[in-house]
């Protein structure tokens, strides 16, 4: 047995590398005389009846009362602590509170010159703290993979099964996971509403992404809006329409390209910044769409990843795969 085959059999759960082939021997059924069985059954029923006798069981009564009282007390305690904490916070708009140090001062005063973004929040999250946002996008990607592991409708891949059997098992798993078959399809009201709303939602999402450095919003919120639009479209028109433009391949390609581009672009800009080199990326005039250097492409990357992730989450939950 080659190394690869052994690894595969271990991956399929057929073989433990230390113990050899995993095998279960059928055991003999243990037979008891009928009277003894009856007695056991009666004992069991009596025990169950005594334990779950709510009116006479003192322990359960006390426990339920104590549970409620302690629950309310715990909530009250938590609320008190939180409100006390809030009351110790410095009031809004005071000049000498501890958060007003040189960091936000620099962001606010020099942010426009250094990043070229009119919206300082975007300038912060995609320029000064771009690696945080990169981590965020990666977290979303990893979350999708985890959901995929948990919810994918696995084709039956038992070792000794023939191909036909595997196919039927796969089909059954698909049917089981695909709960859309029980729903009314082609709902006219939903389709009419979606017909008008979906383009607007998606265009609004694109606007929020592209204007991330000028107005409130940015990659994450715009991506979430586009994702919701896609989900609405999927609900109204079914999988056959969306699969024309969005499949597993699209998801993989888009996420991989966006994350890789983000990584390289930001690595380059951090490298040049740390070594005091000219990055060669023009900042443009503040306020124009094509300005603020890398922020616009990074926004688009984050938006793509988020939109794909939201849509993929939904598809996973509905169908267990693409």
């Amino acid at each position: 047995m080659g190394r690869k085959e052994r690894f595969e059999s271990w991956l399929n759960g057929e073989r433990d590398p230390y113990l050899g082939k995993v095998e279960m021997k059928p055991q003999k059924e243990r037979l008891l005389p009928r009277t003894l069985l009856k007695k056991y059954k009666k004992d069991h029923e009596e025990a169950v009846a005594q334990v779950y006798d709510m009116t006479n069981n003192r322990q359960i009564k006390y426990f339920e009362k104590a549970y409620r009282i302690l629950g309310v007390l715990g909530c009250c305690l938590f609320i008190t602590i939180m409100i006390l904490t809030v009351s110790y916070l410095p009031p809004i708009g005071v000049a000498d509170k501890p958060v007003n140090n040189e960091v936000p001062q620099r962001y606010i005063e020099d942010g426009l010159q250094e990043t070229g973004a009119v919206n300082i929040v975007t300038g912060m999250i995609l320029d000064y703290r771009a690696f945080d946002t990169f981590g965020e996008s990666n977290v979303l990607f990893v979350a999708t993979i985890t959901v995929l592991i948990l919810l994918r409708a696995l084709p039956g891949h038992g070792g000794g099964k023939g191909k036909e059997e595997a196919d039927t098992a796969k089909e059954e798993a698909r049917q089981e996971a695909n709960d859309r078959i029980y729903e009314p399809k082609n709902d006219v009201i939903l389709q009419r509403v979606a017909f008008f709303l979906v383009p607007m939602i998606i265009i609004f999402g694109i606007y929020v992404i592209l204007n991330g450095h000028l107005s409130p919003g940015g990659g994450f919120s715009g991506g979430a809006i586009i994702g919701s639009g896609l989900i609405l479209y999927l609900n109204a028109f079914g999988f056959s329409k969306t699969e024309r433009l969005f499949t597993e391949k699209t998801y993989k390609g888009v996420c991989f390209c966006a994350l890789t581009f983000y990584c390289f672009a930001k690595s380059y800009s951090f490298f040049t910044g740390a070594n005091h080199l000219e990055s060669g990326i023009p900042l443009g005039t503040p306020g124009a769409i094509l300005s603020s250097g890398l922020i616009l492409p990074l926004n688009i990357c984050v938006g793509l990843v988020v939109a794909c992730t939201m849509y993929t989450f939904y598809v996973m939950f509905r169908k267990g795969g693409f």
């Binding site: 409130p216 940015g218 919120s221 809006i225 994702g227 919701s228 939201m310 989450f313 939950f317």
Partner: protein, 94 residues
């Protein structure tokens, strides 16, 4: 604090309490949706429109939809349908 803000905050607290007290999971999710919507208005009042957009899209949109699908997956909505059929009362559809 204006009257409007007070109203919103009171509504927020009421929503938060009624989410936990509601027996029906579907109702809880819908209340949670309205909670997110009001929260996004409060974010605008607190002068952070970025968060408001995200809260409206993620909190009220995607998260609730995922909750609905999860309820469907664990067969928590089906019981509702059979209730409707047996008692003959027509509540609002999904």
């Amino acid at each position: 604090m204006t009257v409007f803000e007070c109203l919103l905050l009171v509504f927020l607290v009421m929503c938060a309490i009624s989410v936990t007290l509601s027996k029906n999971l579907l109702n809880s999710i819908i209340i949670y949706m309205s909670y997110s919507l009001v929260m996004s208005i409060i974010w605008i009042i607190l002068e952070s429109p970025d968060l408001a957009i995200t809260e409206a899209a993620v909190g009220a949109g995607v998260t609730s939809v995922l909750f609905f699908v999860t309820l469907k997956k664990i067969h928590a909505i089906e019981r509702e349908d059979s209730d409707k059929e047996s008692s003959g009362q027509q509540k609002g559809g999904e």
